[in-house]
Amino acid sequence: MALDIYKINPEFRDIMPKEIIELEENATWAQNQERPRGIKELPETKELLEEHSLCAGCPEAATLRYVLSALPKPEDTVIVNSTGCTSLMFPHIALHTVHSLFGNQNAVASGIKRVLEWRFPDTQKDVVVLAGDGATVDIGLDYTLQSFFRQEKITTICFDNEVYANTGGQESGMTAKGQVFKMAPTGKKFDKVPMWELAKTSGCHYSVNMTGSAPKAVAKAVREAILVAREIGPTYLNIYTPCILEIGLSANEGLGEMKDQDKDRFASYKHVSPEAEEYLKKCKKEGLL
């Protein structure tokens, strides 16, 4: 995408919302080409996500900002999302995004990625899937894993809040065993699905399990995952972003919950294939990381 084409027609300028005018005046896409953007620039690069309509203190909303700040090339990034709390944020994001059906995000992303490679063989266009655990691991598990088996060059990010949050708090495949939620009134009967391990055995070249507690760590994983997906193959990030509403925490307790889990169920897991490791070294030398 040309970086100078976001121009408002002068005849419409007086009726355009303030946000759109600010987007034209303050967008920093071009600066991103000079040096990798990161979380430090978040206050200055509000064009990606300025506002959102999630609950106050939602860890998912914060983590989405870290993800967006870490995109290597946002002007050429397409995000495919799915039904859930994240889909409430996408209308606020100044990127090409697709909200399709519940669970089919990796299939839609496969079609988009392959066609973009066909139509723009000389331009790197990143395709990132961003969905919750219900869409990624339950209803959409087939499509998630099959995209890994097919070695689709896409990055899949699962915002794992361990519950179907947006529909009112039902247990999901990612809920911990024993947890009581709606539709599991006597506690969940089987273990949390080890999705990060399934990703590894299904062909992902980069698979990480982490929480959204440390912005820099999230941003680093996002950037590495997208770079590996460009050249090597599918990548997966599982990021714990608890639904504070459903587990009974207040708005200022989300960060603490994530930090606690860093030492426990979400102790860092990272798989990097030898090819991916080699490639990431090269990226570091070239200043892409």
Binding site: M1, I5, Y6, P17, E19, I20, L23, E50, E51, S53, E75, D76, T77, V78, V80, S87, L88, P91, H92, I93, A94, L95, H96, T97, V98, S100, L101, N104, A107, V108, A109, S110, G111, I112, K113, R114, V115, L116, W118, R119, F120, P121, D122, K125, D142, Y143, Q146, R150
Partner: protein, 400 residues
């Protein structure tokens, strides 16, 4: 493999000369071939400058999907792969089409239902991909025989639905389908239906233009919605909470959008009239009092019935509907002038076409509409059954 960068102003990436749809359908010289429906679909795709196709096996469309794969291997199709199941495939082709590709896929009855949620999503995004549906009975009990019950389920998805009677129509329609679906004032997906086996596996004489010509490529930048390719600047398109969080906004958005999609389907009529040489095709006696309203291979059987009735001195005509969505209401009403009895022979047990005809004609035409005869599960519809049904209605108590 071919590359899109090999495309020139005059030739596509596989070296075929680019021509208009009118040249392809009406002007280019044709030669006679003897082919099955699956083979002729390959010939159509070969001449369509197709960017992308995704496939999944299901009888009786598997062969058509194989042959599109061969075209990809031969360099005529840009992107091709096998999806994981029909829901996945319909999602993958949605992605292909949203990303700006001329896209086609094929399926049959049970696959259609497995993928059903996608078809409404396709039209909701106004992506102009083509599904060639080779109709088949829906389980259970298990059958692989042709039926067209799944078409009833597709009627209100917002997609256009055309129905080809034979191999020749399948070729011409599937080329015209891309053109109409991609018109900027239409731009909705299209389903080209045929009765599986009866058309997919039947070898017939078919007239084809040479294979060194192909349709002009799809231009995604003429679309009413921008393609998802990051070539156009994105904007935040909402400030307030998302539509579903406000009943009023949700109502207003959905009401206007659903009407817009249905209006877009209606706007396709003028293009289809030209490219299909009319939305209906009429054979038989002009001054008939008995009319058969049909689609697909039921038209073929009805024509057989019409010829037999003529031998008995009974005048009838067959009004074949080429498009089901949009429904050719005006043409049908015009064709029914002077008609007293309408019969709707169908290859499915529920009589969805008869329901459609009754609903569209209610209060507009003074005619007795008889919903039948019908067969189901892949049974054939012999002319004798049609004649018997007609005689019992028109001449009650006196037999055929």
């Amino acid at each position: 493999m071919s590359k899109i960068t090999d495309m020139t102003k005059t030739h596509n990436w596989s070296g075929q000369k680019l021509v208009s749809i009118d040249h392809m359908l009406f002007e280019a010289p044709r030669t006679k071939h003897f082919m099955t429906g699956s083979e002729v679909l390959k010939e159509a795709v070969k001449r369509a400058t197709v960017d992308a196709s995704v496939s999944y096996p299901i009888t009786p469309q598997s062969e058509a999907a194989h042959l599109i794969g061969e075209l990809w291997a031969e360099g005529y199709v840009g992107v091709y792969f096998r999806g994981e199941n029909e829901f996945g495939v319909m999602s993958e082709v949605a992605g292909c089409s949203m990303a700006g590709a001329r896209t086609i896929t094929t399926t049959s009855g049970p696959g259609t239902l497995r993928a059903m949620e996608n078809f409404a999503q396709w039209s909701g995004t106004r992506a102009p991909m083509q599904l060639v549906l080779m109709a088949r009975g829906i389980n259970s009990p298990l059958t692989i025989q042709p039926d067209n019950l799944e078409v009833q389920y597709l009627l209100e998805t917002g997609c256009m639905i055309w129905y080809a009677e034979n191999v020749q129509e399948l070729f011409d329609m599937s080329l015209a389908a891309f053109t109409v679906a991609e018109q900027p004032d239409v731009h909705v997906p299209i389903i080209t239906a045929v009765d599986g086996f009866f058309v997919s596996h039947t070898r017939e004489a078919v007239e084809l233009p040479d294979d060194d010509i192909a349709l002009q490529p799809y231009d995604p930048y003429a679309a009413p919605l921008p393609p998802i390719d990051s070539e156009m600047p994105p904007g935040r398109f909402l400030r307030d909470p998302f539509v579903m969080k406000s009943n009023y906004i949700s109502y207003a958005t959905h009401a206007s959008w659903q009407w817009e999609i249905r209006s877009a389907v209606e706007r396709s009529k003028r293009y289809a009239r030209h490219l299909l040489n009319g939305l209906v095709h009429i054979t038989g006696n002009e001054d008939a009092e008995i009319a058969f309203v049909t689609c697909g291979t039921a038209s073929n059987q009805a024509k057989e019935g019409q010829r037999e009735l003529e031998k008995l001195g009974i005048k009838s005509k067959v009004i074949k509907l080429r498009t089901i969505r949009p429904f050719p209401e005006e043409e049908l009403i015009e064709a029914l002038e002077g008609v007293k009895y309408v019969f709707v022979p169908e290859f499915n047990v529920v009589g969805w076409l008869a329901n459609e005809v009754k609903a569209k004609l209610y209060g507009k035409v003074d005619v007795n509409i008889h919903a039948g005869p019908r067969v189901a599960g892949g049974m054939s519809l012999p002319a004798e059954a049609i004649i018997q049904e007609v005689m019992e209605v028109v001449n009650p108590g006196k037999g055929a």
